[in-house]
Structure formats: structure tokens, C-alpha cells
Amino acid sequence: MNTIKNNFENQIRKQIEEREINPSRDLWSEIQNHTQNNRPKSKLNWLLVAACLILLFSLGSVLVFYNKQKPSEVQITEGKTSSGAKKVIREVVKESPAMVLQDVKKKDETKNTEPSENLGAPEAVVSRDNKKLPVIKENTSELVPVIIETPPAKIIAQTDSAKVPAGRKRYVDPSTLLFSVEHKDAIEKTKGKSNVATIDLNGK
């Protein structure tokens, strides 16, 4: 009796042990999903790190390339005034650390040293000071002197103005001095600190 009962149990065990059941769905993909989700994520987001590195390298290479491209380049900028008569040439020396563009007074001085040759030629002002000083950049538009145009009929220039170079003089012409004393009332100072005498010819 007991052996028969044991056979019954053994038969059940045997059937279950020998049985193999094929899964009805893809269990492996679900197991993979579970295991990947449960894996501890590294604190560093490697994609983000890689993106940052690429950005840094590209920025660095752009900066290096840009610096190599203009070592001691002379850049000439032509700025035309409204009349088109005046030109400003600016020399930019990259390698020299300090560069100061002087104001208009200095331009006049350089002009006086070479009066006839520089007439009508562009003005170039370059000043090199101490190398350790930082580069001072000035807006070129500020350097262009203001030219006030007055109607040619109303302006009376000095009598010997044709002989005098176009630039300002450091000495005073005796005839001009005499004229200025005689016609003090007619002389006016403009914004550019130049003296302009206005005489009404029709009145005389």
C-alpha cells in the first residue's frame, strides 16, 4: 500500500522533474531590462563629460589658431570724412604690448616736420611706449579731427595762406598777427580751437 502511494508521489515528482516548458514570451529581454535598471549608475555622466571635453578642445584650438593667424599684422583702416579729404591710417602692431594713439595735436607736429610731402597724404600716428603697458585701444572715429566747412565766399584767409602749408603752424605770422589785432571783433573761435575771421565783403 505504502509503496503504491510512494509510486504515486514519485510519478508526480518524475513528471515535474522531467518536464521542460518553453516560455511563451521573450523573458530574456525583460530580465535584461530589469538588471540594467537595477545596476548602480555611475555618478559621472560620461556623455556630458565627453561633450565638455570636446567643447574645451574646440575652443582652445580656435583660440590658438586665431592667435597664430595674426602675429605682427599691419592693419590699415581707412576712414573717410564727409568731405573725403582726410584719411586716417592706423597701424596696429600686435606684438608690441603697448600702443597709444595720440590725439590730433601730435598729428600736427608730425605734419610740420614734413610739410610739403605730407600734404594730402594720409596721416599715420604710431607711438610705442613701454612694452609692459597694456594695449590701449581707442576708437578711430574720435581721432578724426572735426572739420567745419564754412561757405568759401565768407571766409577770408590770411593773405599769404597759399604759402603756408595746410597744417597748423607753431609760429605766428606777423601779417596774421597784425590782421588779428586789427580785426579782433571779427575773429571767432570754433570748436576745433581754430580762429576764423568772418568779414562781410558786401558791407564794405
Binding site: 510519478q11 508526480i12 521542460e20 516548458i21 516560455p23 530574456w28 530589469h34 538588471t35
Partner: protein, 186 residues
């Protein structure tokens, strides 16, 4: 795949401990059908049995470090599958351990016919969960009553009673099946 691992189970174990995906796939392919059979013997519904198996494999791969290599890796994994099924049955609903006062089922006239003509899974599917758990743990897994009591958190006496009732129920179900078949035949 066999060339990859050969027959060296130690190599497979070491690779599983390194969370090697190829080793995990190899171990899965080796055992999925067998473990699904085990899972199905506890959980009647195939879909739910597969869910239990998925969770069991995940636990196996996660806690492979805790396997010291003393025994059989498949045996250790099978215990995890069984525990996962038991947890599923417990979580699904409250398990009632029946203590039926029935006369033992005796139909000795048919004892000789018992042996080979039945489908074990069909019989197991008709058992109540409490009976099925104890019967499977005792007969299929080879647990002692002490182990069953510890696992299911019941007394040893309850374990013995449940096993006895389960066997009786199985025999009853079997003879009922046989009778209906005979009636249909004639």
C-alpha cells in the same frame, strides 16, 4: 556558447559574479525551461509563472556574489525560483491552511491503475495553494517538515497535516478524473 565556457562551472560562476552579460545569457538558456517547469508547479497561470521566473533570474544575477560555491549553482538558483513563487502566492492573497476533518480516501480497488496514467500538472493545478506549497516543498524540493515550517512560517504539525491532506486530495482528484473518463468511454 559551450566553447566559450566549456564545462568549467567555476569559470561560469566567476563570470556571473562579474555581471558578464554573455555568461548570464548562457546560464538563462541553460535553465529557463527547467525553472519555468518548477515555477509552473507552484503557480498555475503560465504568465504569472513567467513573471515569477523573471524576478527570480534578476535576483539570481544580483545576488550571485552571495553564492559561496559550496553546493550546486543550479540548486541554489532553483531555491530562489521556489522562494519567489512562494512570495508571489503569499502576496497575491491570504493563504488558508485548511484542516479538513475528512475520512481518509481509500479506493484500494484502483490502486494498481494509479501509477502511470495521469497528468501531474493537472492534478497540482486543482490543489488549494496551501496544500500545493507544502506538497511541492516536501515531494519535489525534498524539504523536511522543519524547513517547510520555517519557510512558510507555520508549525511542523501543520506542515505534516497539510501534506497528508494534499496527498489525499490528489488521490481523490485522480480517481474522480478516472471515473469520468470511464463513463465517457462507455
Amino acid at each position: 556558447m559551450k566553447l566559450l565556457f566549456g564545462n568549467k562551472k567555476e569559470d561560469l560562476l566567476s563570470r556571473l559574479k562579474k555581471q558578464d552579460a554573455a555568461a548570464q545569457k548562457f546560464f538563462y538558456d541553460q535553465n529557463v525551461k527547467k525553472f519555468l517547469s518548477v515555477s509552473k508547479s507552484y503557480v498555475s497561470d503560465l504568465y504569472q509563472a513567467e513573471d515569477c521566473l523573471i524576478r527570480a533570474f534578476c535576483k539570481i544575477f544580483q545576488h550571485i556574489e552571495s553564492f559561496r560555491g559550496d553546493g550546486n549553482l543550479e540548486g541554489w538558483a532553483r531555491r530562489i525560483v521556489v522562494n519567489e513563487c512562494l512570495n508571489f502566492i503569499k502576496s497575491r492573497k491570504t493563504v488558508f491552511y485548511l484542516d479538513e476533518i475528512n475520512q481518509p480516501f481509500m479506493d484500494e480497488s484502483n490502486e494498481e491503475e494509479l501509477v502511470f496514467d495521469f497528468n501531474a500538472q493537472e492534478l497540482l493545478d486543482q490543489l488549494p495553494d496551501a496544500y500545493k506549497m507544502v506538497f511541492n516543498l516536501y515531494v519535489l524540493e525534498g524539504y523536511s517538515h522543519q524547513e517547510i515550517a520555517d519557510t512558510l512560517q507555520i508549525s511542523i504539525a501543520m506542515s505534516k497535516t497539510q501534506l497528508f491532506r494534499a496527498k489525499e486530495r490528489l488521490r481523490k482528484i485522480y480517481f474522480q478524473q478516472q471515473k469520468t473518463l470511464k463513463n465517457e468511454h462507455y
